[in-house]
């Protein structure tokens, strides 16, 4: 295997390719309580995130729809896996942790529900792609804040 292929397989790990091809929780969530759009104007990634938060403040279910590159779709898919069942406050903290981790902060330890996000560590070497990986997480924060404007990654 060439060095290029190896490096690239560090970015496009099996898990990433799997989640991008078979995104989990894909589609519109009926009776969502929170929703937000994410746009990455640089590459045209666009997604809409849906959350249903119950009265106790837990994320009962989540989903997303839209289109984007493998990284942004995989990240959104991993997100919905990771935050479903979490209390809102904990989900908020996840946004911060993931953003720090993807920006290259090794000390940003991933809680067990975020373990799989390690698969995205490869983007750190590709500054222009970090935005793809964080897009869904920006949208999550917007949704939780009930922001009216789309989250962008600039």
């Amino acid at each position: 295997m060439t060095a290029t292929a190896r490096d690239m397989q560090d970015l496009y790990r099996e898990l990433v390719l799997d989640h991008s091809r078979n995104p989990r929780h894909f589609g519109r969530l009926e009776d969502a309580t929170h929703t937000a759009d994410g746009i990455n104007p640089l590459c045209g990634d666009k997604l809409r995130l849906y959350l249903r938060v119950d009265d106790a403040g837990n994320i009962e279910s989540s989903s997303f729809e839209g289109s984007g590159c493998a990284i942004s779709v995989a990240s959104a898919s991993l997100l919905t896996d990771a935050v479903t069942g979490l209390p809102v406050e904990q989900a908020r903290r996840c946004c911060a942790t993931v953003a720090e981790r993807l920006a290259g902060d090794e000390s940003a330890e991933l809680a067990s529900n975020l373990e799989k996000l390690r698969a995205l560590d490869g983007v750190r070497q590709y500054p222009s792609r970090i935005k793809c990986a964080t897009l869904a997480w920006h949208a999550l924060r917007s949704a939780l804040n009930h922001d009216a404007v789309p989250a962008t990654t600039e």
Binding site: Q9, Y12, G68, A70
Partner: protein
């Protein structure tokens, strides 16, 4: 006029461009993104640096030696532009910060004061945002309507339908010379001919025309022609609005400031003559000096030589890409220049861009500032390889090989 057409190895030219002589991710760079911005020959880089080391001062208003030299260098570059596009007079060459500013100038100074509700601006479906949004803004400001001529599935302007749309309510037509996303060469002759019969001015967005074709604005017969320095191997922050003198004369100034006036008092201000009326403030002097050097460089090769060399290379690129399994070419117009858009399997163009970059191959991905065009094809973006005369067949082969690797990774 250009040198006689001859066949030259692009390698001769390539060595003139320092940025091309580098490795990216450990691989020799293959630069296929000239439609976004072109690299500069050393002659341009050096001309700018030499100007700053030896001659810089503000232009036009100075009596001292450096100011005199700077003025000569700046105005000398204007003369080079005039000759390069064969404008009738230097007064018709307005120096701007780029194509975008040039088109905004026409929208705001030529159109805005005269447009009324019911009037139309006619463009095509393959325009760059720079030839869409300024018209949207002025339509909003005046109540005029933006009308869009359709294109077919090959990415060609549907000429018959466009000609039908040219009626007496059309105030101005804006059309690309060459479409940046698809490389389509537009049918300017027919559109301009029809527009002239009805006395409708035509603005040609020449951002992708000037770097690849031998442009003669008088032969084209257009009323405005806009282009950017950085796409023709010159500096960013420079551009040109060619305008027929009669039209430029009739337009009020757009921006106010130094140099665009003859006399200012609080009661009355007399504007300067053409082209200065449209050049408010200190211009991009060093950039324009570089633009002049870029023109010298291009003239020495000859635009006809460049056009024929590139045509052959473009044909080769299209033929090689077609051999790649799973490729879908977007833009298959009969007349094309420089750019080719494509999709590969179901790999998102953004991922493709990263994988190619990792192999030293620089392409552009995304909407190419032509979102309505992307919508027309039901796409959010494409991968685009664009050629300049410094590219060669090796570059194309490297592109094709890199696409093979991408298929492996996403297999």
């Amino acid at each position: 006029m250009g040198a006689p057409v001859r066949t030259i190895a692009a390698a001769d030219w390539r060595a003139d461009f320092p940025a091309l002589n580098q490795s990216v991710h450990g691989q020799p760079l293959v630069y296929l993104d000239s439609a976004a911005s072109a690299q500069q020959p050393g002659a341009v880089i050096d001309a700018v640096a030499r100007y700053q080391r030896e001659d810089h001062a503000n232009v036009h208003r100075g009596v001292h030696t450096l100011s005199q030299r700077a003025t000569e260098a700046y105005e000398g570059a204007r003369d080079k532009v005039r000759e390069f596009i064969n404008a009738g007079s230097r007064t018709e060459v307005v120096l701007t910060s780029g194509t975008t500013e040039a088109i905004n100038l026409v929208a705001q100074s030529f159109c805005r004061p005269r447009l009324a509700p019911g009037d139309k601006i006619l463009i095509t479906h393959l325009e760059h945002h720079a030839n869409i949004v300024p018209w949207q803004l002025v339509c909003e400001q005046t109540g005029a309507e933006l009308v869009v001529a359709p294109i077919n599935d090959k990415g060609e302007v549907e000429l018959d339908r466009m000609l039908e749309l040219i009626d007496d309510k059309v105030f101005l037509i804006g059309i690309a010379h060459v479409a940046n996303a698809l490389g389509t060469v537009c049918p300017l002759d027919e559109v301009i001919e029809q527009a002239r019969q009805r006395g409708i001015p035509v603005l040609v967005d020449g951002a992708q025309g000037v770097p690849h074709l031998d442009v003669d604005v008088q032969a084209l017969g257009c009323d405005f022609y806009a282009f950017s320095g950085h796409k023709m191997f010159g500096p960013t922050g420079t551009g040109v609005l060619y305008g027929r003198e009669e039209l430029l004369e009739s337009m009020p100034p757009w921006q106010g400031g130094g140099d665009m006036i003859l006399e200012v008092s609080f009661e009355k201000t007399i504007y300067n003559e053409l082209p200065y009326k449209f050049e408010a403030g200190t211009p991009n002097i060093s950039g324009v000096v570089g633009l002049g050097a870029a023109i010298d460089y291009l003239q020495a090769i000859g635009m006809a030589n460049i056009a024929s060399y590139e045509q052959e290379l473009h044909d080769y690129m299209v033929a090689e890409l077609q051999k790649v399994e799973g490729i879908r070419l977007i833009g298959e117009a009969r007349h094309k220049a420089s750019a080719q858009s494509f999709l590969l399997d179901d790999i998102h163009s953004h991922d493709l861009g990263t994988i190619l970059d990792h192999q030293g191959v620089a392409i552009r991905t995304g909407h190419h500032c032509a979102m309505p065009l992307m919508q027309r094809f039901g796409l959010s973006g494409t991968a685009r390889a664009s050629l300049a005369f410094y590219n060669n067949r090796d570059d194309v082969d490297r592109l094709v090989a890199a696409l093979g690797k991408a298929k492996e990774i996403f297999a």
